[in-house]
């Protein structure tokens, strides 16, 4: 059986003449597995998420080496809408991904694009909002919600696509304890349903849902030994966006 998300010898640099942000990254996320990636600010975690989700090289530029396979197909050979049918990514900044004045419209946007039948869209909107504890907010304006609530709505908007692979790029950064618990429950439920989840985190408290924790540092991805005392907090001059 193919691995849902796999990176082979993956490397990236912003331009030909610049040194790579990371290189030689080999990573596989199996069905029913939650993998977390930690790393200091500026180490390239978000850029790695963009490479794994096909945003690089399909939408954003730069020089990507190696390949990313989504269900065995290289992302280079896919179009973003084709990727959206298999992989969902929740971005760090939820604000930029919310553009409708009603939460349920926001959550319905993805399935509508994928031509899902209206009855099924209703079911998905309800289930996705319930999965992150936001079902009572269906009729609210997302722009008037708190940062944490926006993050949960943005997550529900991706869950409604029912992706086999879910990438969460610091998607718990603005959540309170309740929101974090809801998010962790959702991640566990995804794992139980055989989905592959990749979690980029900087908060050690959120790593308890992960089956494996890796660290991206100095351009290399390696197993994290759990030593937070010696954890580098930022990369001098690092800018990985």
């Amino acid at each position: 059986m193919t691995i849902p998300l796999r990176a082979r010898n993956l490397g990236y640099s912003f331009a030909e003449h610049l040194s790579p942000l990371f290189s030689g990254v080999d990573l596989g996320v199996e069905r029913g597995e939650v993998v977390a990636i930690v790393g200091p600010s500026g180490s390239g975690k978000t850029t790695l998420c963009h490479c794994l989700s096909g945003i690089i090289p399909l939408i954003r530029g730069g020089v990507m080496e190696g390949e990313v396979l989504l269900d065995g197909t290289p992302t280079r050979a896919l179009r973003p809408p084709e990727i959206a049918q298999k992989l969902g990514i929740v971005f760090q900044d939820p604000e930029a991904g919310l553009f409708f004045p009603v939460v349920e419209d926001e959550v319905a946007f993805g399935p509508e694009n994928l031509c899902v039948a209206p009855v099924e869209i209703h079911r998905r909107v309800g289930a996705s909002l319930a999965a992150v504890g936001m079902d009572a907010f269906a009729e609210r304006n997302p722009h008037r919600l708190s940062g944490g609530e926006k993050q949960l709505v943005a997550t529900a908007a991706v869950l409604s696509l029912q992706p086999d692979v879910l990438i969460l790029d610091e998607a718990m950064s603005q959540l309170d304890d309740r929101g974090r618990d809801m998010m962790k429950d959702m991640i566990r439920a995804m794992r139980d349903r055989g989905k592959a989840v990749l979690l980029v985190e900087h908060d050690p408290e959120n790593l308890d849902v992960a089956d494996r924790v890796l660290m991206l540092h100095d351009g290399e991805l390696a197993t994290f030994d759990g030593n937070w005392d010696g954890f580098p907090r930022s990369v001098p001059g690092g800018s990985a966006r």
Binding site: F99, A117, P118, I121
Partner: protein, 252 residues
Amino acid sequence: MTTPFVKGDYDPRSKLVLVLGLSSLAVVFDYPRILLPLALATVLCALYLRSGVLGSLVRMRRLLWVFLAMGIIQSVFTRGGQPLVELAGVALVTTTGLERGVSIILRIFIILVSAGIMTTSNPRDIIQGLYQWRIPYELAFMVAVAVRFLPLMREEAEDTLTALQLRGVRLEELPLRTRIRTYGYLLTPLIAGVLARARQMSLSVEMRGFRAYPRRTSHRTLVLDGRDYLLMIIALLLVSGAFVAHFRPGPL
């Protein structure tokens, strides 16, 4: 929670027909004797459709001075008719000038108030209405994103202004020329911020399957009912009646 179709309010398409009719009349005609009853009809329509007419005008009070100034300028610089105000034998305001000035104010008033009617509809419903009218979804979606970007730009400008003031710049105490130059400095971070948001938004849209297929489904469907048809018929009668009255042979 989710309803399969929207009830209780007029369909945005019927409002759109009304708004297009009223604003077209305001653009075509420039006689106060037509524009005045049209302005009254627009206000009545806005009140009937529960558009916050007065609230909108209060919010635009700074712009209202600009419109008033435009009216006065039109009055002063348009010649013709009987002189109303003279200074040293030179006619400052004439009847034609005054008519033009009043027309311009009424025209802008009608367009603004009628446009306010559309704000009573959910932007998502407006997109859906346009889409059901076979307008390409991309175009309708662009309208929604543009509407979303206006408050974003305002927030961005406010944030930049606050950041500037927190660094000790007291704008209200600056001389006018320096103040204008300082506002110029705001443009770069403002544009950079908006572009960054636009890029992030486009990523989010693309990664949620936008344009995956030539068509798309919708979780809500708008249904025109009898009231909507009646409103559209009244709007069309109003427009065609005004045109017939205006272009028929003989004096108006």
